[in-house]
């Protein structure tokens, strides 16, 4: 979904929100549902911003994270 349009992002956010409601909908009132939808949209937007950053197959995550300091 590289370079998604705003419309596509909204559709993804709506689908993910629906998945939340399948699991937790019985715990949420109308305001809660709106809040979940807003928060999912924010996460989708942040994830989309990260997709704009180019990575290669060689870029691994740090599975045990350490703060990086170049050895001199």
């Amino acid at each position: 979904m590289s370079g998604s349009t705003g419309e596509q992002q909204s559709a993804v956010a709506a689908a993910l929100s629906d998945a939340v409601l399948v699991r937790y909908g019985d715990r949420l009132d109308e305001a809660g549902v709106a809040k979940v939808r807003g928060e999912v949209e924010e996460l989708v937007k942040a994830a989309e911003a990260l997709r704009a950053y180019r990575l290669t197959n060689a870029d691994e995550p740090d599975f045990v994270f350490r703060a990086y300091r170049r050895e001199s």
Binding site: E39, E42, L43, A47, A49, L55, D59, F65, R66, A67
Partner: protein, 468 residues
């Protein structure tokens, strides 16, 4: 405690209290009694206190008194009272995580930090208030804790900051000489700024997280909140170091050695990102700070590499919090959280795709390398700690701060695990403190502490006391 007056003791630094203890002017039991009384009469006014650990404190204080009298000196923290954010497990007292339904939660072992402070002779006198679940449910206003909203001692209508709210207001009101806070994204530096303290966020892995509530395993850090930068160094020396119980701890030992550090000749980067939206007093006080820093350092404007710091931090924090809080969310306990927005804050992140989390982690590596390239050129990079002073108690803090709620250096420093210290640097609107932060490269705590000490040697903002 005959010769020492109350106010002099309340706002004394760890070093000053140590001198009084060793001169016989006061004793560990007298200090413990004094600060317990202060917590009851002053600290509680600011919603800083969850539990006063009187029995444990007096037992440890009597031991410290006997040891010091016998000539056995454990070092600068021996006999000094302190408070711990209530996410650190402690035997014999509840550990609530700031959550009303968990007010009876107990653990069978002390957190590593608590054990290390005990080994250094420090006296735990209180578990301190905090934002419920360290703010991990997305609170947006101060009333988000079982102890009520944290209040800054500088203005009883303003917030103390979060999520280490009680640590901030307890130290800021002279109710404990120092406290331990935790930071995932701003939770040590912000309350330090809002309460007029010196607060240190160590390098990720410098201090064991064992026994501390997890919000985000790869972002959480524990650190000291004190009356001076020097005190931060003394406390860090006691709590830092490798711990087999926390595999993310840095293998090398840490030693605070101010006598070996420079007092001038520093090279500092000056970061102005986001300052156009800062309050005028924050900008003015920062410029005044630069005048002082110019006496001890060469100053050079810098800009952060253009990378998605806040987005990466947000995705990592949310993905890890979704897992860390999964049982709490599933149990339904969250429905009884104090802040209404926290009751539904744990759901959206449960559908965050794993690939997005992993992408954020992959980008984090690039961020670490790019920032180290920049930070390696300086002893530290300076900027305001927060763009605004503490928000009013009854206001959404995002509305108060607007778009400068999260300065880019906050996300950058936390996602890369870099150390930073916040020190007070002036007064802003409504009589509230403003602050300066010095951020260093990974492992550079002693350099940023040296810069902060040199700044505090030329200013007296850290010695100002609120009118209580």
């Amino acid at each position: 405690m005959a010769q020492a007056t109350g106010e002099a003791l309340a706002f004394a630094t760890v070093r000053e209290l140590g001198r009084r203890l060793r001169s016989g002017e006061t004793t560990p039991t007298a200090l413990a009694e004094f600060f317990i009384d202060r917590l009851e009469t002053v600290g509680r006014r600011f919603n800083a206190v969850v539990t006063i650990t009187r029995e444990r404190a007096m037992r440890d204080a009597r031991l410290a008194e006997a040891e010091l009298a016998a000539g056995y000196d454990r070092g600068p923290l021996h006999g000094i009272p302190y408070g711990a954010k209530d996410l650190l497990a402690t035997v014999g007292a509840p550990t609530t995580w700031g959550v009303a339904p968990l007010r009876e939660q107990t653990f069978s072992a002390d957190a590593t930090v608590v054990t290390r402070l005990r080994d250094a002779g420090a006296i735990l006198v209180a578990k301190l208030g905090m934002v419920e679940l360290a703010g991990g449910m997305g609170y947006n206003q101060p009333n988000a804790s079982l102890t009520g909203p944290g209040i800054t001692p500088w203005n009883d209508q303003a917030w103390s900051g979060g999520s280490s709210s009680g640590s901030g207001s307890a130290v800021g009101s002279g109710s404990v000489p120092f406290a331990i806070g935790s930071e995932t994204w701003g939770s040590i530096l912000t309350p330090s700024s809002y309460c007029g303290l010196s607060g240190l966020r160590p390098t990720y892995g410098r201090v064991s997280r064992h026994g501390a509530m997890a919000l985000s395993w790869t972002l959480d850090k524990l650190g000291p909140m004190c009356h001076s930068a020097d005190d931060c160094g003394l406390v860090l020396d006691a709590i830092a170091g490798p711990d087999p119980a926390d595999p993310t701890t840095i293998p090398s030992t840490y030693r605070y050695a101010p006598e070996r550090d420079r007092g001038d000749g520093f090279r500092l980067g000056v970061l102005r990102d986001g300052l156009d939206g800062a309050q005028p007093e924050v900008r003015a006080n920062f410029e005044a700070s630069l005048q002082v820093l110019g006496q001890i350092a060469s100053l050079e404007d810098v800009v952060l590499p253009d990378l998605p710091y806040n987005e990466a931090t947000r995705i990592i924090m949310n993905a890890e919090a979704a897992a860390a809080y999964e049982e709490l969310v599933e149990s339904g306990i969250v429905a009884d959280l104090t802040a209404p927005e926290d009751r539904t804050g744990g759901y959206a992140r449960t559908v965050l795709p794993a690939v997005d989390y992993l992408r954020a982690l992959r980008i984090r590596r690039h961020i670490g390398v790019a920032l180290d390239d920049l930070f390696a050129r300086y002893d530290g990079i300076v900027c305001p700690t927060t763009a605004v002073v503490a928000s009013p108690l009854d206001m959404n803090f995002n509305d108060y701060a607007g778009r400068v709620r999260r300065l880019p250096i906050g996300g950058a420093g936390n996602v890369a695990g870099l150390p930073a210290i916040s020190v007070p640097n002036g007064v802003g609107e409504r009589g509230l403190p403003t602050a300066l932060q010095v951020v260093g490269r990974a492992g550079a705590e002693n350099q940023i502490l040296a810069v902060a000490r040199a700044y505090q040697a030329r200013t007296d903002w850290h010695r100002r006391q609120p009118a209580l």
